[in-house]
Amino acid sequence: MANPLDIAAAAMNAQMLRLNTTASNLANADTVASSEEAAYRARQTVFATVLDGQRNATGVAVSGITESQAPIPKRYEPGHPLADDAGYVYGSNVNSVEEMANMLSASRSFQNNAEVFSTVKTLTLRALQLGKQ
């Protein structure tokens, strides 16, 4: 039987992973590399619903992590130790504004699910007290 506690916990796990990817993206916003292939690309989590065969209740899981296909910015810095033969370094395609918005959204969703978790916990405890008063 699918439990609301399990559902909320699965959602909190998924949001935590999303928060981790956002942190990694923000941390690597200024990373440079010596080729376009080696440059850091912003990562995004993909959420998918977990279907439960018997019951209607469903959880959520991260089905994969995609890399952004946005163009990699290149800068002409011949003095940089990582510069290639033509004198270019390749930055990351992380969009800080998008990442900040993503972070806020993830943290709000996490809060929502934490709230659900604590409410369900209180209700279950009360159900256990049934008939004892």
Partner: protein
């Protein structure tokens, strides 16, 4: 005469099950608030309860071969029909979860779950008081 728990507890045990089922649905709606293509779902509580409730109406019998029906018979499978929610503002990725709506529904459901628990609790204490002869 045997004590019938079904009669003593009334509609509240079915209500509690439905509240539980609804809390699972609402929890999964909130959990999938960011999942692309997810459609928010809910149950129509009134309809679902009417489908599972103990029928209190006795059938009128004009012939001894007629079924007695009525009192104490629990009808319905206990599983409520799940419906899709009509969103006020669906988002571009096909997700129809609106966090505030789900939050409100969840809070409402929790409150009513507690109320049902209280009703059940008072039924139990009533039974206890009867068993102890009011002492």
């Amino acid at each position: 005469m045997a004590i019938s728990f079904d009669k003593a507890l009334g509609v509240h045990q079915q209500a509690l099950l439905l509240r539980q089922q609804r809390s699972e649905l609402l929890a999964s709606n909130i959990a999938n608030a960011d999942t692309p293509g997810y459609k928010a779902r809910d149950i129509d509580f009134r309809q679902a309860l009417a489908g599972t409730a103990i029928s209190t109406l006795a059938l009128s019998r004009s012939n001894a071969a007629h079924l007695t029906g009525g009192s104490g018979a629990i009808s319905g499978s206990g599983a409520a029909e799940v419906k899709y929610r009509q969103p006020h503002q669906p988002s571009l990725d096909g997700n129809t979860v609106e966090s505030h709506v789900e939050q409100a529904a969840f809070a409402d459901n929790s409150l009513r779950y507690q109320a049902t628990l209280d009703f059940l609790g008072s039924r139990f204490s009533g039974l206890k008081s009867v068993l102890q002869g009011g002492q």
